[in-house]
Symmetry: C2
């Protein structure tokens, strides 16, 4: 198995990009990452594209080929291009497929990317498309939306562990502060506990400021065999672990809805593969589609004990200058959540951190980072550990 | 790079499976393949599922996790499961991702599968979903459907090479004869040249009997490292090559619409990888979504010279007892075409042939077989070469 490194990155601005088409945003990210890597398109051996729902959002499937074509990689170069889907974990899985392709020796230089254009449909259609990530026959049809499903997780967490709405709000406050320092983020506005608690209720106890938004955006990485990475960049970032796990698609089938067992399993596999422990991680991007999701994630990944995620968040443990800075990009909450792109953008942020180029949100001496990307209410979880040392 | 073998196979019956749900058909194929391999579910390290359009056909995305869950592999085992999409080439790419996963050493035992449930929507909705595999903004919106696109290819082929409607019909006649001998095929009825030529015209020169049908079905393979394959089966089938290529998504951007350059490129890469030539292939399953597609495929894969596919078909060159038997399963035309499953079913058929268990449609002394799976009008092509010798 060959070691794999990231040698180029690019994320578009995240937001309501009404002047960009689906094709435009992908090309900006893909070509940007290739440029950042300092290679040329004809050196690329393969593309992996995370996209959740091109069929429902922009009426287009066959996204891999479309994107190879519009990136100028299809007509003469005939570069293989594959779409990967696991709902909101599509981006993380595109990265994982790219890693395996390079590790296997089948391909040397690979673009792993994610893209979603969500604002070309109205919000009811967007909610309906997103609900296709849940169990349609047992959740969606009964009226369960994702805010509803995560609200159930939050209620149980509050009931079981005494987590408070204020602590949930603190996740949003922290992530908006981080997002205000990120040039690509959808929301640049700092918010307060009060503004979260006074915002409109979506699914009790989740206010609208507990929820990540509908977003357009794309992000891309260039992967290479670790042994040649230094020929392309002075600061390659190495993949120390790539791990994935599944769980039941419906929430009601889980043993305990306050623990995402897929996150626990993927985290454990990643730590084992990298031979690291939670306390070795210097910075993490976790899947905060709702504030409660970040609290569960920092518990399930072992950064804090089960049930104590709210308290630790309140105490600033996960702030940029805390013990384990979480979602320095602003997370899904403030940076935005173009579902297929999110997992790749997480890796872009960690690369920025490990290269030491994250500006005001830079974590001091960050050497080892983690990304954690979730599909649906936790039926898919994918965890990567990255390092700036080989 | 580790060598990879197929140690288990299963295909459901193909057809209008109104008494089976999407979930049912997948489980039948997946569990069947695991059983055929003689292993237990907890030995499986990963699932790759080809599915084109669960979102539009059954209102369900996040297919990978759903399928892991309903196969009993998610709740306690948390086995990773990934959906792969490239329109009608989704199945072929699921196999390819599975091959890379095993080759890389990331996973040992992998299920590579494909599934599509197409008959739960009406035919207009199905046509619309399928059109999402074309370039929506330049083809679909202008009214081009897939029969229309392939009719343009056929017209040009007729114009340029003198191919006849009778020769197109001969593809359908041969594939229906083969399908009549295949227990899983959708159509068991033999047809004649006259019945094709007298059937209703869909898009001139393609009659309805020149077109593959709308189909429900699933197929699955179990992959293993070649070095342990013999511990599980007496007749492992080895992957000698896995190759993929892209082309422009829109037909009008191609240099020559009668040649699928993605097929040529994927074929060449596969031959190079296996160190074989077209004349070494004993049996092939090629992508005959329309009769003209099989004629282009046997030319573009190098079995016959460009422009002579019609004539060779007429002469029986591709019949079960011909020089290079093509689509012994009945192909997409008669076996049926559940878009995400087709690429995997092609491999199931080749395994049957190389194991010598294809019954009346057995090709004598078949040792090396090929599968060729196409997405859209040729923007994606994926070719595998299999052998019963390591």
């Amino acid at each position: 198995m060959r070691d794999v490194a990231i040698i180029g990155i690019k994320s578009t601005k995240f937001g309501e990009l009404w002047d960009y088409s689906f094709r435009d945003i992908f090309v900006e990210a893909g070509v940007g990452a290739i440029k950042d890597a300092g290679i040329s398109g004809d050196e690329i051996d393969g593309l992996y594209v995370g996209n959740m729902s091109g069929g429902q959002f922009v009426d287009q499937e066959h996204i891999g080929a479309l994107i190879a074509d519009y990136s100028g990689l299809a007509r003469n170069l005939h570069i293989p291009s594959t779409r990967v889907e696991a709902a909101c974990a599509s981006g993380g899985l595109a990265l994982r497929q790219g890693v395996m392709a390079v590790a296997s020796g089948y391909q040397d230089f690979v673009v792993a990317a994610g893209v979603e254009k969500m604002t070309d449909v109205n919000s009811a259609a967007a909610s309906s498309a997103l609900a296709a990530a849940s169990d349609r026959e047992w959740e969606g049809i009964m009226g369960a939306t994702f805010p509803g499903l995560y609200a159930m997780i939050a209620r149980k967490h509050i009931h079981k562990y005494g987590t408070t709405s204020e602590q949930l709000a603190d996740v949003a406050v922290k992530n908006h502060l981080n997002g205000s320092m990120n040039p690509i983020s959808q929301y640049k506005k700092k918010i307060t506990r009060e503004s979260v608690l006074n915002s409109i209720m979506v699914a009790d106890p989740l206010h609208i400021f507990d929820c990540s938004p509908i977003t357009d955006g794309a992000a891309a990485l260039v992967l290479a065999p670790a042994e040649v990475a230094h020929e392309y960049t002075d600061n390659p970032i190495y993949i120390k672990a790539s791990a994935q796990a599944s769980d039941t698609i419906a929430l009601h089938d889980r043993r305990d809805i306050t623990t995402l067992d897929a996150t626990v399993a993927a985290g454990k596999r990643a730590y084992d593969m990298a031979n690291l422990r939670p306390e070795d991680i210097d910075v993490a991007e976790v899947h905060d589609c709702f504030t409660i999701a970040e609290i569960c994630a920092i518990e399930d990944l072992g950064f804090v004990k089960k049930g104590e995620g709210g308290k630790y968040t309140e105490d600033g443990y996960t702030a940029v200058n805390g013990q384990i800075p979480v979602n320095t990009s602003g997370g899904l909450k403030s940076c935005g959540h173009p579902v297929g792109a999110t997992g790749v953008k997480q890796a872009v942020e960690i690369v920025h951190q490990l290269r030491g180029e994250a500006g005001k949100r830079q974590v001091e001496n960050a050497e080892i980072g983690m990304t954690h990307n979730v599909g649906g209410s936790g039926a898919t979880a994918v965890v990567h550990i990255l390092s700036n040392k080989r």
